[in-house]
């Protein structure tokens, strides 16, 4: 079989191996899940069902239903973002599609894309599939995995054309405050970097308010913001996201999207519209639950002597386990039936850490933490 080089250049995901290990065992409690344990709000689900009953099964406009784009424009106002529903918003099949389309729309062969790490596992492959060169920018535990001006400079990011940014972060749970983000914006303006900012966890910020890098001076015109319904609205399976950017950027992305996707799933667009209209309370309730679990998990790590910085966003904690994180995770699974994801899977800087997802009910979290404690004590 003929397989293109660009496929061979990307190794299979390290997540896969752990998935297979976890699947071999019974009674595993998994803290390795990167999606909410809630179902989508009922009102959003019934809106999807209604749309099907009314026979709304055709394509929508390439950019997504106008009503939905208007609601999105209204919704992102809470982050001080202002985008025109007609020219500056593209509704996509998950933030995943928006990211893929953006790489293809903005990265020319040989272009360097700075990707701070540890980070979500799809960015580097996305750059490679688009013919670009990923440039790893390690973030550091002593900075709670926030990206600094110095990190960018040390990695030579001034030679990059683009910067891929993700806060609140998967896998670390790190967030960035306005003043910290200002440094990154300064670097981007100074070195004329375009910024792709994945803000899919914006609504899951537990301390302070989420700040978008697009709100800094001279940033709006060089930034595309990504968001979606998967995390905040627990709608992963509905596959719906969006990109916000200046008209030229969205036009370019739409050029690819209109040929490769035509339009995002119609049923999911109806669900999303209702989610934005009426499901704020459910989002707050889910966020409150994540926040309690977050505090629970952080205190348990402190009690068992696993060093863990105070993750303030998404639904991940990123404790330091020391040494070989893959081995730690494998043995933890073998001996205690708790699945976690080794930090090194998420790139440089992740070694010696574990990604702990608290998108799991408190009863399971309690048991899992006791098992991890027993494992740590026995070492």
């Amino acid at each position: 079989m003929r397989i293109a080089d660009r496929v061979e250049r990307v190794p299979p995901s390290g997540i896969r191996r752990f998935f297979e290990l976890a699947e071999e065992k019974d009674d595993v409690i998994s803290l390795g899940v990167g999606e909410p344990d809630f179902s989508a709000p009922w009102a959003a689900r019934t809106a999807a069902i209604d749309s099907l009953e009314r026979g709304r099964t055709s394509y929508t406009a390439n950019r997504g239903m106008r009503d939905l784009r208007t609601q999105i424009a209204d919704h992102v106002g809470r982050y001080d973002l202002e985008y025109d529903p007609d020219e500056e918003i593209l509704v996509t099949t998950g933030a995943s599609e928006a990211l893929d389309v953006a790489m293809r729309a903005f990265v020319d062969p040989g272009d360097r894309v700075a990707v701070h790490q540890p980070s979500y596992i799809s960015y580097v492959p996305g750059v490679v599939f688009a013919g670009g060169e990923p440039l790893a920018v390690p973030t550091r535990p002593e900075n709670d995995f926030e990206l600094t001006y110095e990190d960018l400079a040390n990695a030579g990011a001034e030679n990059a054309e683009l910067l891929m940014l993700c806060y609140p972060n998967n896998p670390t749970g790190a967030t960035m405050s306005r003043s910290e983000l200002a440094e990154v914006a300064e670097f981007a303006v100074e070195h004329d970097l375009m910024v792709l900012s994945d803000e899919i966890y914006a609504a899951l910020t537990y301390e302070g308010d989420h700040t978008s890098i697009a709100t800094f001076p001279e940033m709006r015109e060089r930034t595309v913001v990504f968001n979606g319904f998967s995390k905040a609205y627990a709608m992963t399976g509905l596959r719906l996201g969006y990109a916000l950017g200046p008209p030229e950027a969205i036009r370019a992305m739409n050029r690819i999207h209109q040929y490769s996707m035509l339009s995002a799933p119609t049923t999911a667009q109806y669900a999303a519209l209702e989610a934005l209209r009426s499901c704020d309370d459910e989002v707050v309730e889910m966020r409150n639950q994540y926040d309690r679990r977050r505090r629970f998990v952080l205190s348990r790590f402190e009690e068992m002597g696993l060093d863990c910085f105070e993750a303030k966003g998404a639904f991940y904690a990123f404790p330091h386990c020391g040494g070989d994180d893959e081995r730690f995770a494998e043995e933890l699974l073998r001996q205690q039936n708790v699945a976690v994801v080794p930090g090194s899977i998420f790139g440089v800087g992740g070694e010696g850490h574990l990604r702990i997802s608290y998108a799991t009910g408190l009863d399971d979290l309690r048991t899992a933490m006791n098992r991890i404690e027993a494992f740590v004590d026995a070492r």
């Binding site: 995901s13 799809s122 309690r292 505090r295």
Partner: protein, 164 residues
């Protein structure tokens, strides 16, 4: 105030939560949690803690019958709703009593071991109360959800065990 609310929210979702776990989830220390819960109780905010039971699953001891009974009452110069309520709450068979707006005044939830038991209680104890002018009894045929908890709803987690 915010602390009280946080603790109340936790107790509302699980009253059996240990003090230590409440402390971990709220970031308060255990002594503070104990104190706040004691205050909530002393101030009459929290009146008690009870299990939510699906009686159909309790196999061993026969029937458990519940009825919602609407009551219409007639007030006079000396007798108000409060006075009537104070008398009705005394019956152990009455597990809840509320005053409503609309077609009837009170609704009470009555629990007993059989329909006969419950009917007898209504006709012998409630209906004869001088201010009560009418009773309408509705026997509960099925309970699907109680205090936010859906019976028989054990959602299987169908997510992949590890995902990015």
């Amino acid at each position: 105030m915010e602390q009280r609310r946080k603790i109340l929210d936790l107790l509302l979702s699980n009253a059996r939560e240990s003090t230590a776990d409440i402390a971990r989830q709220t970031g308060l220390d255990e002594a503070r949690v104990e104190e706040t819960i004691a205050e909530l109780e002393a101030d009459g905010v929290v009146h008690g803690y009870q299990a939510i039971v699906d009686w159909r699953q309790v196999a061993d001891d026969g029937e458990h019958v519940q009825a919602e009974v609407e009551l219409n009452v007639e007030l006079d110069r000396e007798t108000g709703y409060e006075d009537i309520a104070r008398r009705i709450v005394k019956f152990p068979q009455v597990s809840s009593l509320r005053l409503f707006s609309g077609d009837y005044d009170f609704a009470i939830l009555v629990e007993g071991e059989s329909m006969h038991d419950v009917s007898q209680f209504i006709s012998e104890q409630i209906a004869p109360i001088p201010e009560v002018t009418q009773t309408v009894t509705h026997f509960v045929m099925e309970t699907y959800k109680e205090r936010g908890i859906v019976f028989g709803d054990r959602d299987d987690d169908d997510r992949l065990s590890i995902s990015p």
